[in-house]
């Protein structure tokens, strides 16, 4: 039905795809797997016309086709629910679902009534409970995600692609989506699912294609593969069963309380959060995407304003108005959303490393370029950033190196508290290890770290204690022997622990 051969794509210095393959049959559900940054989304976008490949061919029903634009993809019956959405924030739910699909009356105007009926059909099908006239920007991420899926369904595609569409969905929503997918499969639709949730693969997928660094490293039937093998193909190593079982440091009691957050709320994203970070520890924050972790960490930084509760840092109650206030109190922040929140793509490697330093100090005092260079040089040596040169623009680096640049920027300044929001997104395994090593060294020197991650494995590996967020609340705190994958997953999904969690929270609030 669909076959992609030898697809390559370079983004400047980054090779996102390297002769990748993908093949899907009619009525087949194919899982497209790979670690972060392995090129899954890029492959999907090549198919949907959003990315112009450097090379390769696409065959549909055995015929070579040219996909030069999204409209071309549509013509071939390809519809995608994008990882980063394709919704128009200010437009209503109906308009978003029916954009380009609305039936017209004889006079060329949109038949609003029919259009509404059709949109409502898909809303019902996916059991999305929203007002069809609400602008989508007002909706929760999970609802937006459902609308994105509805939008793709409404195109009645022959090939449906869901790019991590389930990442921010709740368990019941995932069920609904899967039942719809099964129906479509029965109707002969080919489906490609990109996901990081391994359980989903075995539940619904037939085939499986694994990408690593832009190359297709494995293709096959799901029942021929087991989880370990999949992980091996994705990462190049077998999963370490020992993860999470490492010694707990149990040093909390000897150490000083650095940050104490009490009953913090920021409706509707955060409710009643109690949180502590001690000096010299790494506190992990886990949970599904969009459960309030990012907001929480930005509240600490002063980038968001909270409406209730208080924050005590170094024994003093604080309320930052902006990130600069926090930074001058020696709090650092590293975002995983590199492009938007941390890298200065046009500025040189040296300037990027020096950026944290740039933000401090007298505005008009003499600043020699040598100072910047020597700072950058030493940071580069320490943190192993591989760069063409200090003067090259940051966007000439590969993704992993860009991220190391950002990490290096902050660690070189050794703040008292370092906040990290999924800092290893799209970072390869070695760089990731490197970053972890650096962070551990830092805690030894007394730095405290709050580490948000969407990757459970990573959390279990690096964090001393793990707070898990669910719907804006902390659903569990895992410390010591509790730090086990199944507990973590359960807390993330907010499933079995309802009572337990309640009790725990009561405890916390009593404290």
């Amino acid at each position: 039905m669909l076959e992609m051969r030898n697809i390559s794509k370079n983004f400047e210095a980054v090779q996102a795809l390297n002769h990748a393959h993908l093949k899907v049959e009619k009525g087949e559900i194919m899982a497209l797997l790979g670690s972060n940054g392995s090129g899954k989304s890029t492959l999907v976008k090549v198919l949907s016309g959003l990315v112009n490949p450097t090379g390769g061919e696409i065959y549909i029903d055995g015929e070579a086709v040219q996909i030069k634009s999204s409209a071309d993809a549509r013509k071939h019956g390809i519809a995608v629910a994008y990882q980063d959405f394709s919704l128009i924030p200010k437009m209503s739910v109906i308009d978003n679902i029916m954009l380009t699909l609305s039936p017209c009356k004889k006079n060329g105007q949109i038949d609003e009534k029919k259009s509404r009926e059709m949109a409502e059909y898909y809303l019902n099908e996916l059991q999305i409970d929203v007002s069809p006239d609400a602008p989508v920007e007002l909706l929760m991420p999970s609802t937006q995600s459902m609308i994105e899926i509805a939008k793709a369904l409404a195109m009645k595609p022959r090939i449906l692609i869901l790019d991590e569409a389930t990442a921010s969905l709740h368990a019941d929503e995932v069920e609904i989506v899967f039942s719809v997918l099964k129906k479509l499969k029965a109707e002969g639709t080919s489906i490609i699912i990109v996901t990081h949730r391994m359980s989903e693969i075995f539940r619904i997928c037939d085939g499986c294609t694994i990408l690593k660094s832009g190359e297709t490293v494995a293709e096959g039937n799901v029942n021929q593969l087991d989880l370990d093998e999949i992980v091996f193909h994705m990462t190049g190593k077998y999963p370490d069963k020992e993860i999470g079982k490492q010694e707990t440091k149990e040093k909390n009691h000897h150490l000083q309380l650095l940050l104490d957050v009490k009953d913090m709320a920021m409706p509707p994203k955060l409710k009643n959060v109690n949180f502590q970070a001690y000096q010299g520890e790494i506190v992990g924050i886990g949970g599904l995407d969009g459960q309030g972790q990012s907001e929480f960490i930005r509240v600490i930084l002063g980038d968001h304003n909270y409406t209730a509760g208080k924050m005590i840092y170094q024994g003093k109650e604080i309320r930052y108005k902006q990130a600069a206030d926090a930074v001058s109190d020696e709090i650092g922040f590293i975002s995983g959303d590199r492009g938007r929140e941390s890298i200065f793509p046009l500025r040189s490697v040296a300037e990027n490393l020096f950026a944290g330093n740039t933000a401090r100090g007298k505005l008009f005092a003499y600043l020699s370029p040598k100072e910047i260079d020597s700072f950058a040089k030493s940071a580069m040596q320490k943190y192993g950033v591989v760069a063409g040169g200090l003067r090259h623009p940051a966007n000439s680096l590969s993704g992993g190196n860009q991220q190391k640049l950002v990490v290096g920027r902050w660690i070189a300044l050794s703040p008292k508290l370092l906040l990290l929001d999924d800092p290893t997104k799209g970072v390869d395994i070695n760089s990731r290890r490197e970053i972890h090593r650096i962070l551990r060294e830092c805690t030894e020197r007394g730095m405290s770290i709050i580490y948000v991650s969407s990757d459970n494995e990573e959390l279990l590996e690096i964090a001393d204690r793990i707070y898990i967020f669910y719907e804006g609340q902390i659903s569990a705190l895992l410390a010591g022997d509790d730090r086990r994958e199944e507990k973590l997953v359960a807390a993330m999904l907010g499933i079995h622990q309802k009572q337990e969690e309640k009790g725990k929270q009561d405890d916390e609030s009593k404290n």
Partner: protein
């Protein structure tokens, strides 16, 4: 009823509407105070109606600009384009001896073509619209001056008579024309084309990802704006019976600020044609009323304030109007969002 009011309050044109009606009251108030005895006569009506005649070119240009701004594009050369149509319509009969209707048709088509060229430069060459506008002003000014080195040309008197006429003795021709053009918007508003325009203005990448031919739509809308601009040029020709190569230039910036005053977002995807009309109406009323207010003040106090003061105050009022509009829109949007902060995911999609 309440629901209706709420709907109006939420409309993008709300703040523009308030500004407009506020100044409409000022306008009539001044008329009344100037001559209370003759206020309730036909004169007041005629005075008001004559606004449509004089300003229909600006109103049409603003409507054309509004189409583009909804798509997130500004075209500061649009005023020059109007002059292009005007110069062609006036000069072609003189230079080539063409009959007037043919000349006017050519002027209209040529303006549409020029607008399409502009669209190609912006959407295919992907030059930022602001800079493209600067460059196009040079180009079109050059062309206009080549066609008509000085104001002039041949315009038959009948054109002006028709344009100046009143249907049934009380509806100005220009008002009808404007109503028809607004009708075009009312029709288009419900078509997939304008939905696509909003989508592109809201988020171009996502509109593209949804399968919208963004380039094609942009060029279509440029052509549509060109149609409005060309028509504005013809109105100008009829109203002033002359071809003037450069006087339209100021309409470029005036139309943009009118749209913003009316509540159209500079970033695109937010606003509607009513916004543009209210905005330009507000601007026109300020321009025409402020000198009168000063006349009244000087009559009352005996102190003469010259035109420099009129202009200063007009500009200050428009600047304030701008500030009010933008804050109003923001307030509107925050009540919309009712406390919901912009969500990380949504923001990401903006990229």
């Amino acid at each position: 009823m309440n629901q209706k009011i709420n709907q109006i309050k939420r409309s993008p044109a709300f703040s523009g509407m308030i500004l407009f009606f506020l100044f409409l009251i000022v306008y009539f108030g001044v008329q009344y105070l100037q001559a209370p005895e003759s206020f309730w006569s036909i004169k007041t009506y005629r005075n008001f109606m004559s606004l449509f005649k004089s300003f229909s070119p600006l109103i049409l240009v603003t409507m054309g600009q509004a189409f583009l701004m909804l798509m997130g594009i500004i075209d500061i050369s649009i005023g020059m384009q109007m002059s292009f149509a005007n110069v062609l319509a006036a000069m072609l009969p003189e230079i080539l001896g063409l009959p007037t209707p043919v000349a006017w048709l050519i002027a209209l088509l040529a303006t549409i073509l020029l607008a399409v060229l502009n669209g190609v430069i912006v959407s295919c060459l992907r030059i930022p619209p602001l800079l493209a506008g600067f460059a196009m002003i040079y180009v079109i000014k050059g062309i206009n001056l080549l066609i008509a080195p000085k104001p002039g040309g041949k315009v038959p008197a009948i054109a002006n008579q028709v344009f100046d006429s009143m249907l049934f003795g009380f509806i100005p021709f220009s008002l009808i024309l404007l109503a028809v053009m607004y009708g075009i918007w009312l029709y288009l508003e419900k078509t997939p084309l304008i939905k696509a325009v909003y989508a592109i203005g809201g988020n171009e990448r996502n509109a593209y990802a949804t399968g919208i031919h963004t380039t094609a739509i942009k060029i279509k809308i440029y052509a549509l704006a060109g149609f409005f601009t060309g028509l504005a040029g013809l109105c100008y020709t009829a109203a002033y019976t002359t071809g003037n190569p450069i006087t339209g230039e100021i309409y470029g910036l005036q139309s943009i600020s009118a749209c913003i005053l009316g509540g159209i977002s500079l970033a695109g995807g937010w606003g509607n044609m009513a916004s543009a009309v209210y905005g330009v109406g507000f601007q026109i009323l300020v321009q025409t009323t402020v000198p009168k207010v000063f006349t009244m003040i000087s009559k009352a106090t005996g102190v003469n304030y010259n035109t420099y003061w009129h202009n200063l105050f007009s500009d200050i009022i428009i600047l304030l109007g701008l500030v009010v509009t933008i804050f109003a829109i923001r307030a509107q949007r925050t009540t919309f969002i009712s406390g919901l902060k912009k969500q990380i995911k949504g923001a990401k999609a903006d990229e």
